[in-house]
Subunit: 288 residues, 2 copies
Amino acid sequence: MAKRSEADALMQRIAEEFEALPRQLQGVARYLEEHRSSIMVRRVGEIAEGCGVHASAVVRFAQRFGYSGFTEMQSVFRDAFTAQTSPSRSYQQRIRSVIKNRASTMPAVEIASRFIDASRAGLDELAEELDETRFQKAVDLLATAENIYVMGVRRSFAIATYIAYALQHTQKRVHLVSGLGGMFREQLRSMGKGDALIAISFPPFGKETLYAMRVAQQHKASVLAITESDLGPLARHSDVLLKVKEGSAFAFRGLTSTMCLCQALFVALAYRLELTVEETLPRGEYDD
Amino acid sequence: MAKRSEADALMQRIAEEFEALPRQLQGVARYLEEHRSSIMVRRVGEIAEGCGVHASAVVRFAQRFGYSGFTEMQSVFRDAFTAQTSPSRSYQQRIRSVIKNRASTMPAVEIASRFIDASRAGLDELAEELDETRFQKAVDLLATAENIYVMGVRRSFAIATYIAYALQHTQKRVHLVSGLGGMFREQLRSMGKGDALIAISFPPFGKETLYAMRVAQQHKASVLAITESDLGPLARHSDVLLKVKEGSAFAFRGLTSTMCLCQALFVALAYRLELTVEETLPRGEYDD
DNA sequence: CACGCGATGGAACGTATTTTCCATTTATTT
DNA sequence: AAATAAATGGAAAATACGTTCCATCGCGTG
């Protein structure tokens, strides 16, 4: 039933041969995939410009895939579009496929889209409730720190991992407190005045993280807490506290808002430190 | 927000003047109304034919409504289309220019909220473009795997970390391929038939991850790739490929959409495996 | 019925766009 | 390192397309 349009077939063929393509044509391929829905209204020149490529390269691309030229290839996408929108039978088809999918396909996707919705709601809230003063303070705190320790356990560990990774692109010394080998205590030992601890923790709060915050305070290090509310044990032990409320669906707490906040924090810090983009994320062979 | 596009205005004007139009131009008007959504891809000749009218009549029609010719009128519809399909692009453009233009002089919060905007746009796109069939396949693939290996390096490592953490709440055996001690090879060695590898990688693709995918194929393990597009080296080596396009604000590529997708994937899997929420996330003392 | 005005369609014109060709650069192989 | 093949970009050539012009036609009116 899911009849593959010629455009689909073409895209697959492109995907298959992609690696064998020369550099520029790969660029064209990427552009086509990315802008698949608007190729039909674009002219060769526009597409070429979008790829940073000469128009003839686009034509060569089309010819490489068996068309007489760009025009002929474009018509494939045009056809796919008109077949998709104009025929009134598509209503019936769509409904039919929805009904058909309900049995097998729907649950997973239904769950997914509801979860995505919840995450979106979470980001909306984050955008609305971000405390400007605190965020600025958080950036300042990190900007002035010599060493930055990052800590989060279990659910928050992935976030800590990301922050540590991102911070490696600054000049700071960064320490991810992983607890590898059970050595939380040992990894935290060297914190001192002038250093900062980023502690990520949500209820029920991991005791390891709370321990780290106490150590930080004893060692006169600054503490940036990323958590859910001003209440709770983190407030007392932190210099700056950033709030994130995650939306949840299916009794599942999201992490997208937290991730987003942390990335925003890093971007702001990078520019505070006046890193150029190149310094920040050298897109070398080691990037992923 | 619901700003009337120029196309809307034009259509209304056409409706108003319809009665006063000569016979052929009425035919053109009807055609435009009927095929409004595909005018942008049609040529004058096609439209003329569709109306049973000469091409010049269509041009005259356009001129009657104040345009220099058909081309100019068509661009109105084209603009409406592109504005409708890629509104998220404007988000990206905005943050791009914000970051480009002296971000260091602007408050950190400004940067943050732009970044959050971009992330929201990314989630919108994710919700819209999630491939239902593939998502279902991905869930199935994981559901039937005995051992699940998770691999991502550098930027993607945090994601891999999260997935591995989440999967620990299922009955599966989960292996996070961390490369700790330089032992990628050794950690991958034990993959076999009936196992699955989740590989997360974005361009420029980490060679470690590509290596892992090759090993998986050789060992007859299933591969679920999470990446940016069907093109690129991951396509060939994967059984299922899930696409996530992160809003890339300059060199700052988001991770929120990827994170969200992975969480959605896990939730869907959990329900597929009929885990109760309690089993899935025992909110015990070790939770964080 | 004749006149005139607007509507219509054919064909020529001009332009915008695609395509081909070729010189130059870049990568690959021996 | 030289030779060969492939890729690239500029520009000319070809083409397709939209537009304009004009002769013809039809319709309503005097």
